[in-house]
Symmetry: C2
Amino acid sequence: MSALTTDHDLVSTFGLLMEAYNSLERQLGDSLEREVGVPHTWFEVLLRISRAESGLAPMGCLAEQVALTGGGVTRMIDRMVAADLVERVPCAKDRRVVYAALTPQGRELLDKAILVHDDNLRRILADFSAVELDQLETTLRRLRTARLAG
Amino acid sequence: MSALTTDHDLVSTFGLLMEAYNSLERQLGDSLEREVGVPHTWFEVLLRISRAESGLAPMGCLAEQVALTGGGVTRMIDRMVAADLVERVPCAKDRRVVYAALTPQGRELLDKAILVHDDNLRRILADFSAVELDQLETTLRRLRTARLAG
DNA sequence: GCACGATAGTTGACGAGTCAACTATCTAGT
DNA sequence: ACTAGATAGTTGACTCGTCAACTATCGTGC
C-alpha cells in the first residue's frame, strides 16, 4: 500500500498549518515592507525588544523567540544597528551577555509598524468570530509548547 | 502613548502562530532529517508531487504550495534530481512546463518519511482532543485563503 | 499567419541564515 | 583559589532562496 492511498490526517493538518502561516506571513510581510519599509523579521525583533524587561533583550533570548540561531541573531542585529534601529548594550552583571535595545528611531518605526500590522490583521481576520479567534489562540498557545521528546 | 501600553491582541495572536509553527517545524524537521535523512522542505515537495494528478507536478504549482519563488523551486529540484529522488518530465501539451515526478527511490523515501512524520505528529499532538484538532483544521483552512486585499 | 503580451522555467548576482570553531566570561567542584 | 566545563556571543565558510534578466513557448487579436 502506497502513501497515496493511506490516511494521514495529521500530516495534512500540519501541511495546512504550514500553508496558512506562509500565506499570512507573505502578505503581512509584503505590506510591512511596502508601507513601513521594514522586513517582517525585523518587526518581530523590534516588537520583542520593546516587550522585554526594561526594553533590554539578550541576544540569545531573541534567538529563541524568532527561531534563529545565535549567529543569525548576531548578523540581524548587526544590520539593524547599521540601520540605527537598535543598539547593543553590554550587561554589567554578566559580561558575556549583550542586550539589544531600541533606539528612538527604532521605537518610532515600531510604533508605526504596529499600527499597520494590526490594521492588516483586522482586515484579514474580519470574517473570523471572536470565539473562533479565541479557540485558535488557546490551541496555538498549547502547540507552541508541545514537545516531541519528553 | 507607546506601543508598550496599547492592546494589539491580533498582533500577539499572529506572533503566537509564528512561534507555534516554528517550534513544530523545527522539531519535526530535525526528526525527519535525523531518522530519514531528508530535509523537511524536501519532504513537503515529495509529498505534493505524490499527491499531484498522475504523480506529475508542474514546477510553478509546487512553488505555490511550498511558498517558494520559481527560481527557488528550480534550484531545489536540481538538488533533488542530483539526489535521485525526483526527475524532470517535459510536458507534451505545453512545452514551457516541466513536471517533477518521483523516482522509485523518491517514492520509497517518501513512504518512509510519512510514517516517521505521522508518528511524530501523533506523539506531539497526543494531548489534543479530536474536537480541538478539528476546529484547528477548519480555522487553518480558512486562514490559508484569507486575503488582505480584495 | 503574425506580432504582441502573458506565462513557465532557468540562471547570475546577491542577501540572509546555518554550522562549527573560537573567544570571553561565568560557575561548580575540589 | 584553581581548574574543568558550561554558556553568550561573534566570525568564516558555506547553503539556500530571492530578485531581476533572459529564453522559450503559448494564446489572442488583427
